[in-house]
Subunit: 355 residues, 2 copies
Amino acid sequence: MPRARRGGDAYARAGVDVSKVRAIQSGLGALLSSTFANREGKFGQPAIGIGHYAGLIDIGGGRLLGMHTDGVGTKVLVAQEMGKFDTVGIDCVAMTVNDLICLGVEPAALLDYIALEREDDALVRQLSKGLAKGADESGTAIVGGETAILGDTIKGVGGRGFDLVSMGVGLVEKKAVIDGSKIRAGDRVLGIASSGLHSNGYTLARRLVRGLDLKKRVAELGMGLGESLLTPTRIYVKPTLKAIGKSDVHGIAHVTGGAFTKLTRLTGARKLRFSLTEIGDVRVPPIFGFLGRQGRMGRAEMYLTFNMGVGLCVVVPEGEEPEVLKAYRGSGFEGWEIGTIVEGEGVVVGSTRIS
Amino acid sequence: MPRARRGGDAYARAGVDVSKVRAIQSGLGALLSSTFANREGKFGQPAIGIGHYAGLIDIGGGRLLGMHTDGVGTKVLVAQEMGKFDTVGIDCVAMTVNDLICLGVEPAALLDYIALEREDDALVRQLSKGLAKGADESGTAIVGGETAILGDTIKGVGGRGFDLVSMGVGLVEKKAVIDGSKIRAGDRVLGIASSGLHSNGYTLARRLVRGLDLKKRVAELGMGLGESLLTPTRIYVKPTLKAIGKSDVHGIAHVTGGAFTKLTRLTGARKLRFSLTEIGDVRVPPIFGFLGRQGRMGRAEMYLTFNMGVGLCVVVPEGEEPEVLKAYRGSGFEGWEIGTIVEGEGVVVGSTRIS
């Protein structure tokens, strides 16, 4: 079976070495884990290693607090090029809460961090609109934040450079943590629809569309290119809480950086393979075909990089697929059966091994 | 009594309008508070308004979780100019945990966010060393984080630009929250020693030392200028927990952006004044005199901008001063009685009203 190159040619050309980023993060994790001893036997004792979708700490009474932080990344540059700032706050919330829900954590409260190139009250107001909308969609409260003017650190388009980050916490019962350890051969993999690029792959996407008019309507996209690129990340919290309530969900993966190659985070070193032979059934948003042609990217390479229409993967015991898909569809989220867990290793998309 | 100009001339010349920053943050707070309704009656219901030292959410059993985020700001530029990256992580932790302890919250767990101009494994390792040291000093665990390569958003010195932020949570019993509401006329104000600039005032400080050789030894500083500017922020968590255990502490203020003008955050609209007539007793680190002369700043202006040797203010009932100062001194933290709460409003430093 063909094996695609890890990391992706197109992505490397865009200046991001995904494997290097992972190496940095892993070295960091080892060093920082040494601090776990500081909470031994106290409130906040860490309950999971660094490197999963979120941190978990013990808050007593059989309950864990999930903690996670993430940013919008280079999607903020598209917002600056378009002069449209009221939706990236949704992405900012989505990146954090969608990762929390992967561990079964119900997100509860958020902080935001906005670093600005210059004071810009109007910009901050627009960003906040999106943040509040994301909080409402995810059922969370934004209880604080920081706005920093960092003219010597932040740059961007037309003096409106900014970085946008959120940090969130939420609750999960110890016995209800979904960390992938229950996944076994025969489980089914469901794909829940994305709205487009979400907040991942923008360093590459921006490179691929360089020189094109972002404001011009593109027939195959049914809208302008910039508008399509700015489509907010879907927030999967509410339907996923419903699904968890109805079914014995074995694993949940938010499809972001590293796209489908990251699924193996759920199964770790166990001899299990994500065999996504039915992924062809997914309705792929037209932006992906557009970008693929721009970059002359192969199909496998695209699944290494983009979510390709699947923003969330949910692994369930065979037979529970209909009930879980019903929970998502009832909330307006399309979903498909995209594959099966089999013995083996890595991730297969269609008939190509990508990881 | 003379009244200094709000905001400070020198700071405005450095391109930071402190009152504008506050206006942005307050407008943001109002919009984001609308999301509090999302947690009404649920885990994580907000228990304090936006704008105090930290957010507080209800986690049941009479307990609150404190949440706060802060960054190192432009001190990172000094680190870049000096090529020394192993201490700003301490500052990063300090900025978050010192704010949490102001509400009586014992910090427990942290996340870090590092945005980089380029992949730079060595840089991240150095930053992490400081983060781990700060966590150890504050008794916290770093349970996760995010490292983002944002070449089009982050800039700095020699390609080593970065932004460094932490987010922390901690525990406080509802009845033990220290929000300043118990402060009354006659209370005494204690000042706990800072190690220098901490992580505030660097946009101005960098402007004032522009053109000077950061690596050259300065006799009055007893070290190089850059080394002095990079001195890590002191972490007040452990001695403050001791002090809280021994005394009925009425209010705690971390002296950062806005310096002593921010003390009134503890007393709100109540008719109380911070009368810091004894602040002359404080041992002022020599860096402040050096910067003051560079910028020809007046004494009042300096107290609007810098901590002037006091990194933390602690308000206690009259008579409890010795016990509290003993708790800090026993942990190696010098402290002084710097003033009294009287009827009135604002903040008086020496004989000058600064707020």
